[in-house]
Symmetry: C2
Subunit: 186 residues, 2 copies
DNA sequence: ACCTGAACACCGTTCAAGT
DNA sequence: ACCTGAACACCGTTCAAGT
C-alpha cells in the first residue's frame, strides 16, 4: 500500500522513542520507510507539522483522564510522559506553539474549575501551570543531557525500556511548583 | 590581530540580535569574521559552549541589580531581555542546562531570602521561578513565531530596533505567575 | 495519485597540512 | 600559534519528470 500521513507520523514516533529528537530527520525517516525524502512531502506539509502531530499522539492519553484524577496528578503524568523522551520538552514547546490547546490543557482547565476557579481564571491558571511544567521538564532534560549522572548515562542504547532521566530531586521540585500554583491560599 | 574567543562570542551576539538564533551558524559566523569555519574551533570548543557564552553576555546586566529592585521586577527584566531575541528562550534553555547558576539566579536567590525564605528554600524557590519564567517566555515566543499577530510580523528585517513580540496579554500572564510563586500566603 | 532523481542551499566538526 | 583546504556525514525543502 502507498505511504500515508498516519504511517509517517507513526514511524516518526517510533524513531523519537528509540533514538531521540535529533535523530528524527526527514531523510532518516524516508530511509526507515524505504522511500526517497521528497516523497514525504506529498503527505506531510513540513517537519514542524509532523512533529506537532507526533506530540499529539504522545499526549493523547492525557486528554480524558477519569474524574478521580486530580490536577496535580494529571500534571505529574504529563511530566512522566515527556521526561523519558530525549528532548521531549523541546518537542512539546514546538507543539504547544502550534496548538496551545493540546492535552492536557483542556482537562487541566476543567480540573481547575472543579477546584473553584471561574472559567476565565481557570483558563489563565491552566496556561501558567503549563508554562511552569514545560519549563521545568525542559530544564530538567537539558541538565541531564549536559552533565549526566551515572543513572542517566545510557547513550547510544535505545531509551525505550529505560527509567529515563527521572530523579527524586526533579520530582520534588516539580511537585512543589505545582503546589504553589494550585488555587487554595489566595 | 588574530581571532579570539571573545571576538567570536561578540560576533555571534551581533548575529543573534540582528537575525535570530537560526542564523547563528558556525559557517555564517566564520563568513562574518572573514575566516574559514574550521578556524573557529581553534578558539571555541563547540557551538553549544559558544551559545552558552553568548547567553552569559546577554544576562550579565541581571547579575547585580540594585537592592531596590525586587524579585518580581528582576524577573520582569529577564523576560524583557529575552523576549525581543528571536528564539531567545531556546537559547536560555541551552545555557541554563550548561550552567544553572546563570544570572538572574543568584540575585533571585538573594531576593527571595530578603523576603524571608531560608537559604535552602530560597534556592528551591529560585529554581521553580526560573522554570516558570523559561517556560513562559519560550511558549510566548513559539506562539508568536507560529501564528504571528499583525504587530509581530517583522520577518527578514532585523529585529534590533523593534518592540519584539511583547504583548499585554503575555505580560499579564507572566506577572500573575510570578505573583503566585512569591513567598507570602504560605 | 504517488513517487523518484536531482538539485538548492545549507549544517557541525575534524584534521592533515601549510605559514 | 593560528589558520586553510578539504573532507565526512549529514540537513529541510522543492519540483520537473516518470509511472
Amino acid at each position: 500500500m502507498p505511504l500515508s500521513a498516519a504511517a509517517i507520523v507513526e514511524a516518526a514516533h517510533r524513531l523519537l522513542l528509540d533514538y531521540g529528537l535529533q535523530d528524527v530527520s526527514m531523510r532518516r525517516l524516508a530511509g526507515e520507510l524505504g522511500v526517497r525524502p521528497g516523497a514525504l512531502y506529498y503527505h506531510v506539509p513540513s517537519k514542524q507539522q509532523l512533529l506537532a502531530d507526533v506530540a499529539h499522539r504522545i499526549l493523547a492519553p492525557l486528554a480524558d483522564p477519569p474524574g478521580t484524577v486530580g490536577v496535580e496528578e494529571l500534571m505529574r503524568r504529563f511530566r512522566a510522559t515527556v521526561l523519558p523522551i530525549r528532548d521531549g520538552a523541546d518537542l512539546m514547546l514546538i507543539a504547544f506553539g502550534l496548538n496551545p490547546g493540546l492535552p492536557p490543557v483542556p482537562a487541566l482547565r476543567r480540573g481547575l474549575e472543579r477546584l473553584g476557579l471561574a472559567s476565565g481564571l481557570a483558563h489563565e491558571r491552566a496556561q501558567i501551570v503549563m508554562h511552569f511544567a514545560l519549563g521545568a521538564v525542559a530544564a530538567e532534560q537539558n541538565a541531564a543531557l549536559l552533565h549526566p549522572t551515572p543513572e542517566t548515562t545510557d547513550r547510544e542504547a535505545p531509551n525505550r525500556e529505560t527509567t529515563g532521566p527521572e530523579t527524586t530531586r526533579g520530582a520534588a521540585l516539580y511537585d512543589e511548583g505545582l503546589r504553589l500554583l494550585m488555587p487554595t491560599a489566595d
